[in-house]
């Protein structure tokens, strides 16, 4: 393996890194004197172009013979059709966050902001590819550090600093746990490669090790933090509420997609021999019961806490915790179908959430707040945004024919099929019952928008065209992926074709 081959295999990541540097340099050296609007637009155009180029590369090589063979760099990174598909989704989510940023007026540090967005996207792409403990940790940190800064980027709003500080403190703690857990795993298995760890752990000659539960729990803690699973979700509401909208949407979508992919890979590959079981009456120690507890807690806490929220961003944060719980069902299915349902769910969820955040930020710009009451009568003022918000909310609630419904259906089918004798039914019952609860708070948002009368106000500024176009596009995507799930499902099943990672 030569560095040239490595670079060609990981050209998309390279493209994004170079774009980040170019955008930074361009803004610092050339655009200094331009007005803020132009700097934002030019910078965003370049950043977006970088994302598109990287995604185009990924799609272009998808058909070539070289690309279909998986490629492993000494067990550190892997590049195969599945990771490429997820990376395209990550680039798209990053692209949407950049689009959302073009109309923001929260910062004068345009170059820094955009390049940090791009760098965190690179971190996410590496998370998806890494198959080695060291690489995993580096990728996790490469994603997290830019995200901490992105959360703090609004100097005028103290909640932004608060969000960043909470996110950072929780994140730092979680990273420490993960690192400790990974070191224990290394100590147990004597290897940092995921596949080799599985082989060593399966070697039962040594008998069960007392350190294994600690290693599992600690590793899982860090990953659960990344995907905001309860009880490691406490940072999420503050981060979502305080961070600037583009940062929050990236934290909530891209970072989650990558986090879930990594979580699934670590559990299903490295800890495959110690899966255990969490099914009804067949309990066995392993990662499955732990993840099942996380999933159950997330679904219950997320949905119940969301009911009590009066701020739409916090409501979305708690609903995100609930959706983490649903997505974990795909991990628990522990088979190829589980992986494809997980990937389908988190990608469509990411699109929906970015759209919802775009609407919330447009409302915030207009009304000066994102409380439920700020949405009153929005249906009369902004028919398009309101209609799209209805689509996003109903998709999150799981109403057909939207993407969220098919995603849930597929997850439930996958996890029930993942164990004999419908053993996972208890968890699915919990998830379904809680999703019935969720309709209540999503309808609260829609009630404000469509049912309640518009308060008397003077005319405020209209939401920018870019936001409208982005929101419309995402809503269309949610409808299309819901009506024709095969558009995403067929490529997904084609790249997974019957094997886990």
């Amino acid at each position: 393996m030569s560095y040239l081959e490595l670079l060609s295999r990981f050209a998309p990541e390279t493209i994004v890194v170079i774009t980040a540097l170019v955008v930074l340099g361009l803004d610092l050296l050339v655009l200094r004197e331009e007005p803020l609007r132009n700097r934002l637009r030019i910078g965003a155009a370049f950043s977006g172009l970088g994302c598109v180029a990287a995604a185009a590369w990924l799609l272009a090589i998808a058909g070539s013979a070289e690309a279909s063979s998986p490629f492993a760099t000494g067990g550190m990174l892997v590049d195969d059709p599945l990771t490429r598909l997820v990376k395209v989704a990550l680039l798209a989510l990053g692209f949407f966050a950049i689009l959302l940023a073009t109309e923001g007026n929260f910062t004068a540090h345009v170059g820094e902001y955009l390049s940090l967005v791009l760098l965190s996207v690179v971190g996410m792409m590496l998370m998806v590819s890494s198959t080695d403990l060291l690489m995993i940790f580096i990728a996790l940190e490469a994603t997290s550090l830019p995200l901490y800064i992105l959360a703090a980027f609004n100097p005028r709003d103290p909640r932004s600093s608060e969000a960043a500080l909470k996110y950072f403190l929780f994140g730092g703690m979680a990273a420490a746990f993960t690192l400790f857990g990974l070191s224990l795993v290394y100590g147990l298995a004597g290897s940092t490669n995921l596949a080799e760890i599985a082989v060593r752990l399966a070697d039962t000659g040594r008998g069960p090790d007392a350190l294994l539960p600690a290693a599992l729990a600690l590793t899982l803690t860090g990953l659960a933090f990344k995907v905001a699973a309860a009880p490691f979700h406490l940072w999420a509401p503050d981060a979502y509420e305080g961070a600037p909208a583009p940062s929050a949407s990236l934290i909530a979508s891209g970072s989650k997609v990558a986090g879930f992919f990594l979580l699934a890979r670590v559990m299903m590959v490295a800890f495959a021999p110690v899966a255990g079981s969490g099914t009804w009456h067949h309990y066995a120690a392993g990662w499955m019961p732990l993840v099942a507890i996380l999933a159950g807690l997330s679904v219950v806490i997320g949905n119940l806490a969301a009911i009590a929220q009066s701020n739409v961003k916090r409501l979305l944060a708690y609903s995100a915790v609930a959706h983490t719980g649903y997505a974990l069902l795909g991990v628990l299915a522990n088979d190829p179908r589980g992986v494809s349902s997980l990937v389908y769910y988190v990608i469509t969820y990411g699109l929906t959430l970015v759209g919802a955040f775009a609407v919330v930020s447009a409302v915030e710009d207009r009304e000066g707040g994102s409380n439920l009451t700020d949405f009153a009568g929005l249906g009369r003022r902004e028919p398009l945004l309101s209609f799209c918000m209805m689509i996003f909310m109903l998709s999150l609630a799981g109403i057909p024919p939207l993407a969220g419904f098919f995603g849930k259906f597929y997850l439930f089918a996958a996890i029930i099929g993942g164990a004999r004798n419908l053993g996972w039914l208890w968890l699915v019952v919990l998830a379904v019952a809680m999703s019935a609860v969720s309709l209540y708070y999503y309808l609260q948002v829609l009630k404000q928008i469509y049912v309640l009368p518009e308060p008397e106000r003077t005319a405020k500024r209209r939401p920018p065209m870019v936001t409208k176009a982005l929101v419309g596009l995402l809503a269309l995507g949610v409808v299309i992926f819901g009506c024709a799930p095969d558009l995403l499902l067929r490529p997904l099943l084609a790249v997974i074709h019957g094997r886990v990672f």
Binding site: Y450, D486, L489
Partner: protein, 494 residues
């Protein structure tokens, strides 16, 4: 051709959305045309496919290849009867909402979306597709009630939406489990109905799915959404709610729960029949003491839907076709009753309190409304010559074979039904008007032409079906001999 009932409704939604807000008349016209087109297609579809009640496949396309989900629309006699009902109720509903001016565009968009979903449920033979259409109907209902409703509308709308959603969550759980147990290969109802689900599975899957659907059919004690929701809803929406949405529940219970899990049905049959009978008697008794005119009709719906559920539980030919005929008949009659109460009376008198109405002498002020209500009331009581008589008689005969005691109790429900209907008729229209007060009320606006057309249309249907029920029974009866109902027939007495 029948599939176009679905498409034309959604095309109607788009057309209404494209019209500018101020063109209220055009919006109404477009909505009416869409509803009439649906009705026309339903009639044409029956003429073309359905005269022998056999199963027709309309469209069958692969939808989600990886999961074995098809876009599969078809129709048997049961579907055809209910599609016809939907067409009639939808058209009548638009005629009775001719006075909607407030946000008319959105009103008709939600209205047509609801209709489209309902058609879709009745025509789907793929379980996934059926469920998609079934849930699609929830959201328009919420907005129709919450925005255009009256008494306690936000509460009623939310309660209705949550009850429906909880019911559909139960159904979802049951059908996902059934799908996985049958091998995760197909969602085709015919294929699934052939699969021998283990009895231990059917034992819990049947009540889960059946009750999940039957919540929407007003199964006691899960009926509490119904009276409040009906009362809060605007006239057209309560006509649709009682007229067709409650039938969605009963239809789903028959089409999905009973065909897929016949063994489970055999186990739970008596319990559910008991609940149905309690619903019949309880609904009637509660209707007897209401002071709000609309609540009388709301509770009477619970009572009459009890007959549908009781008919389903008989599992014999006469009881089952009676149940389906009762779905049709109640759809027409309840629509008519709600139209009189909500549109003809409430929109003019601005009160639904029976005590207040008693003093207004509406029988003289609104003779058309009084006569319409009297006719609808007779039909609802089950007087011979109206559709309600044939349907409830069949259910009672079927129940007599299966559960004689319950049949007797249900007969009691009919007697109480006569009592509350006559009481409402007397109080609302033929109260004693004190001479000194007769001039106190300003003259009420006369009944408009669209209202008259709608009322005459519904009365005609109720009478024609009452005099010549063979028209529909010939469609319904043979449907139960399709392979879909093999398991059911094996458990039943036919």
């Amino acid at each position: 051709m029948l599939a176009w009932t679905v498409y034309i409704s959604f095309i109607g939604v788009l057309a209404v959305l494209c019209l500018p807000e101020r063109m209220v008349r055009a919006t109404r016209a477009v909505a009416l045309v869409a509803a009439l087109a649906g009705l026309g297609l339903a009639v044409a579809g029956i003429a073309r496919h359905g005269l022998d009640g056999s199963m027709t496949t309309i469209v069958k396309h692969v939808w989600v290849r990886g999961l074995g989900i098809d876009y599969y629309l078809g129709a048997d006699g049961i579907s055809l009867v209910l599609v016809l009902l939907t067409g009639i109720a939808a058209t009548a509903g638009i005629l009775f909402s001719w006075n909607i001016e407030h946000r008319a565009k959105e009103f008709f968009a939600f209205y047509l979306a609801l209709i489209g979903g309902v058609y879709g449920v009745f025509l789907s033979f793929d379980l996934f597709l059926l469920f998609v259409f079934y849930e699609l109907a929830i959201i328009p209902k919420y907005f129709l009630i919450a925005i255009w409703g009256s008494t306690n509308r936000e509460y009623g709308a939310m309660k209705l939406a949550l009850y429906s959603f909880i019911g559909s969550a139960m159904v979802l759980l049951g059908i996902v489990a059934a799908y996985v147990v049958a091998g995760s290969r197909t969602m085709d109802l015919f294929e699934l109905a052939k699969y021998p689900f283990p009895e231990s599975f059917q034992f819990w899957a049947f009540p889960l799915v059946f009750v999940g659907f039957a919540i929407l059919a007003g199964l006691w004690p899960f009926h509490t959404w119904a009276p409040g929701g009906h009362v809060a809803a605007p006239t057209a929406a309560s006509m649709l709610l009682a007229g067709v949405v409650m039938k969605l529940g009963a239809y789903g219970a028959l089409r999905v729960a009973m065909t897929l899990f016949p063994q489970g049905l055999a186990i739970w049959r008596d319990t559910i029949a008991l609940l149905a009978v309690v619903g019949i008697v309880y609904g009637a008794l509660v209707a007897l003491v209401q002071t709000d005119f609309k609540f009388v009709i709301g509770y009477s719906s619970v009572s009459h839907m009890g007959f549908v559920l009781l008919g389903l539980m008989t599992i014999n030919a006469v009881g089952l076709s009676g149940a389906v005929l009762q779905m049709f008949s109640h759809g027409i009659i309840a629509g008519l009753l709600f139209a009189v109460v909500g549109r003809m009376v409430y929109d003019r008198a601005h009160t639904r309190d029976l005590g207040a109405l008693e003093e207004m002498g509406l029988g003289r002020a609104l003779p058309f409304a009084a006569v319409t209500f009297a006719v609808a009331g007779f039909a609802s009581m089950g007087l011979p010559g109206f559709s309600g008589f044939v349907a409830e008689l069949q259910v009672l005969i079927g129940a007599w074979y299966a559960f004689p005691t319950f049949a007797a109790l249900a007969g009691l429900g009919i007697v109480i039904g006569a009592a509350y209907t006559l009481r409402a008729l007397q109080k609302a229209f033929y109260g004693e008007v004190a001479e000194s007060r007769s001039g106190a009320h300003p003259p009420l606006p006369p009944i408009t032409l669209p209202e008259k057309i709608g009322a005459i249309m519904l009365v005609t249907v109720a009478v024609v079906v009452g005099l010549y029920p063979k028209l529909l029974l010939d469609l319904i009866g043979p449907s139960f001999y399709s392979p879909l109902f093999d398991g059911l027939r094996a458990k039943g007495a036919f």
